[in-house]
Amino acid sequence: MTDTHHRVPAATEQESAVRTMTMAGAINAGLRAAMERDPKVLLMGEDVGQLGGVFRVTDGLHKDFGGDRVIDTPLAESGIVGTSIGMAMRGYRPVVEIQFDGFIFPAFNQITTQLAKMHYRSHGSIQLPVVIRVPFAGNIGAIEHHSESIEALFAHTAGLRICSPATPQDAFDMIQQSIFAPDPVIFLEPKARYWDKGDVDTDAVRTRLDAAAATADIGRARVARPGTDVTVVAYGPTVRTALQVADVAAGEGTSVEVVDLRSISPLDAATVIRSAKRTGRVIVVHEAPTAHGVGAELAARIGEEAFFHLKAPVMRVGGFHMPYPPSKFEHEYLPNLDRVLDAVDRVMAH
């Protein structure tokens, strides 16, 4: 920070440290910053090394940090997560990549019965600061098992933190906060948003990481756009959809507030409930099937805590109770602009 004053030509840019990045680029930059910050940070997974990951999120890191820190693993998801547990027990901070959401299930046992519970059953004597990066959700025209929304399966398991960034800035910040959090984190990267661009301030998170309990910040929701008539709650890939909904609705005279959850466990219910009390109408939008999902959880909490403020029932817009359909159907399966706008009309009709 201090020597930026001596870099005369780019001094202004250096001080602001704001760069335009894609979300994939922001995660890459965040991983790099974390690896520079702490030599105990390791990347592990299939193809994360020389190839740079199938989405190139780890591009260049193998070249710069070497095969000891960017480790190409055997093709075995349970093995990847299970060995990361053992490495974390010796003080490492493994960041493992599961190549696609639908391939996390072979590791489900290690994540839910071991990673999530070790701190509890060791009375806190074993911390497992493992991050599991998962390119998740759909909308990229992929084939079977490459477009799953798995968040509720893990949110139901105590001991795990689950978060999903919706912007390059959050991607850059949250990946680092996840890595330095003492708890295991499932870090869900909305793969349809990997190529979205945005401004990233690369300095701000550093200051926060230097502060105690800075990692708690990954558990907070943000109001992405204020509004007065309807609250649309979204996270990860559906935040952009929600913002588009707000734009269109504004043209029709309806003011939509968009809340970006950022974190699924813990759930920042307080922010959602405050918004619900302001607007009296809430729609939760996620790609995962609505049955037994995050939207159901939020609807129940809003019902418990903001019942007398509601002007309409809490609505959910999400996937159907079916396997993720073939990609030619995904536009209708996913909570697209029309389906969310329809829900806006329905809550406004109350």
Partner: protein
Amino acid sequence: MGPLSDDGLVQLLDVDGTRVADPDWEPYASHLTPEALRVFWRLMTLTRTFDAEATSLQRQGELGLWVSCLGQEGAQIGSGTAIREPDYVFPSYREHGVALTRNVDLPQMLTLFRGLEHGSWDPAKHSFHLYTLVIGAHTLHATGYAIAMDKDGLVGSGSPENDGAVICYFGDGATSQGDVNESFVFAAVNNAPLVFFVQNNQFAISEPTTRQSRVTLAQRADGFGIPRVRVDGNDVIAVHAVTQWALRHARSGQGPVLIEAFTYRMAAHTTSDDATRYRTRAEEEKWRQRDPIDRLEKHLQQLGQLPDEFRTAVEAEAKALGKRTRETVKAWERPPLLSMFDHVYAEPHAQVEAERAWFDRYQQSFIDEGSHA
């Protein structure tokens, strides 16, 4: 050679207690003085006494469940005594004898089985990880831990006295698990300093090893490029020798080893199991003749190295351990209820905190009502 075959086992002490000459393995047992063998006998005896006491406590309703290691004391004490600092142990859930060699307080282990907590000891203090009930899951933790030891420069450092390795225990049934096979892959390609120690006690609950494998469990290692050795698991001296070799091999940076200790679980799988449904008294009797403690006892007597005063002292120690086990278990009280919310996360988590606060208020409401009465 079938999976139940006892051909090709390393043996240094036969069932009559007579030493067997084996020039390959003798160097790894030559340091065992009569005094060291008496220590083995003592540790096996204490393990057995504790095990019997825990079984009784379960029968009296004091424990929810007990997993006996009766008959496997040779495999456990033989291997456990080959472990040293800075080695690290990943047990399954039946390694009470190994725990004893790691100075874990045996009565204290029973909090898990009493239903008071999920983990009873500080793993780092004893270099002995918590028991893992999901079969084979810990083999991957052991592999990652071993890879990390290597990264930390604790392996093949050039000064063998400082080198370390990991030893991981699991049973015959576990070898069918995906995680165990994945751990073989990860350990092999990373040349991890890891000794896989299979206690083949011949049953996965009721299923014999023939329902798990067509080859000996040791042979499983071949496909992964892992050296293996098959040992008479009821011969504490041979187990000690092969484990010495395997740990030295791993510590020196030569990679993983698989040991199959061929033994027999004399008790049922757990206190919930009925072993009479799937095996015969004749078979049990055959294995009783191969008892690891009796065998070493005969040997020590042949040597004239089991003096009455030593035997009496160990018997007294065992009796005291049994008494202390009973008294410890019965004296336990449930910790404060709110403590069940502790340690779910390392940092506060909104859901846990909210539920803890709610439950506290709920509990408090009964106390308040009581005070009005």
